[in-house]
Subunit: 251 residues, 2 copies
């Protein structure tokens, strides 16, 4: 499955020629106030809207391939996607998980440093990278938003490095569950971390996030359930019973 998931040439390029593309209505976009677009006023939004296209992606589909030319960037409207770095022999490390309102792709760079694959069915608002780069260069506020977002991502990535390099399996799983409960609750309208939530992916993906095997991941979860720390009502549901204890374990 190495073919592009869609034809980038169908995207508006921002040139004088009007390709008649663009999204239907940015103003009513579900992530209008959370995505980087929030920095734009109505006029700018209309302009950027002409450059973007909404696109549906099926779970498992890959938008960008590690090492390949990355002709597009995008905002996530719905669903969850993973950023993956792979070794030649197939080992995979998930280096990022993106949620609605998050930005994906590599502005100002030709090659994608990682693959981007949908973990659930997803919807993205996609831009031709060059058009987006030009637009961003001309709109400091947008660039500022992008900078802040990138700085936040970098902080998150660096803390994940600590987890990967120095934490035990138990600590990794506990940290993961706490972070997920926070990030997933940020999605819905309810604020604050939820004690119960549904993961948008399975055990193997957890393992690929934590730098563990699926067996170790499963064993840790089973053990935590046995100790009453959490419940596992179904494959993907997690209920944290003792948040304080979980935090103590996470370190």
């Amino acid at each position: 499955m190495t073919e592009a998931f869609f034809d980038p040439s169908s995207l508006p390029t921002g040139s004088a020629v009007d390709y008649g593309g663009g999204v239907t209505d940015c103003a009513s976009c579900v992530v209008r106030n959370r995505a980087i677009c929030a920095s734009l006023d109505a006029a700018e939004l209309a302009l950027l809207g002409k450059l973007g296209r909404n696109h549906r992606v099926k779970a498992g589909q890959t938008l960008l391939w590690e090492g390949d030319d990355a002709p597009v960037v995008a905002n996530v409207l719905e669903g969850v996607l993973k950023l993956v770095v792979a070794a030649a022999d197939g080992r995979e490390q998930i280096v990022g998980v993106v949620f609605p309102s998050d930005f994906i792709g590599r502005p100002f760079g030709k090659e994608s440093p990682y693959s981007v694959t949908a973990m659930t069915d997803a919807e993205v608002c996609i831009f031709n990278r060059k058009s987006f780069d030009d637009f961003a260069s001309a709109h400091p506020d947008l660039q500022h938003k992008l900078l802040r977002r990138t700085l936040d991502e970098l902080d998150r990535a660096r803390h994940w490095m600590m987890l990967l390099g120095r934490k035990s399996a138990e600590e990794k799983v506990a940290s993961f569950l706490l972070e997920m409960s926070e990030r997933l609750s940020g999605q819905g309208c309810n604020s604050g971390a939820q004690s119960g939530f549904e993961l948008p992916f399975g055990r193997q993906q957890i393992a690929d996030i934590l730098g563990l095997t699926i067996e170790t991941t499963s064993r840790q979860l089973t053990r935590m359930r046995a100790e009453g720390l959490l419940d596992l009502p179904s494959r993907r549901e997690i209920v944290i019973n003792d948040r304080a204890a979980m935090e103590a374990i996470a370190g």
Copy 2:
């Protein structure tokens, strides 16, 4: 050693009051063309120069503490510094190594997400964070440079996550040596990676970068020397004899 390494209130704040601070001469700065300042013209440079102060730091000294308020950002003029995330029990993971012309600190954020410590004697051009934030917000070109730099750092961090989560000790050491040979050669005037180079730090620091123990690190290096892959003329010198083989191991 929790006291600040210098008094941030002595920095110019960019307000109407002239504190008479500032660096001597940005135009002749050693990193003038490589640091983010390269985006500025003479007039802007003079303005920014007034906000900055050169500062010497001794090896081992910490500029910013993880979790503490981070009142400053800086450009590195000389020396090597590390970014460290630590656990309560003392385990450390080095999440970044910065060289001359690199930028340090966390713009647009109050707390430092990691400690910044000098690994060698160093010299930095330091700014009050708020003043710098304001200046950056008013100078899109500077912000653009900062964005590109942050995006590059993020790419690097994510590839390091793959190393930490999925590579064996042997692969980690090989990858480390190759990256160091590239980054260190970028420092001097000679271009291209050097087969021989001097690390600016000891074994424990290598271990903290790779998520290994000092013993495992040492054993890997000794084994590689025994196999003729490299020479270790002194504690900190590394000579890569067989670069191709090293790259094959790194994966």
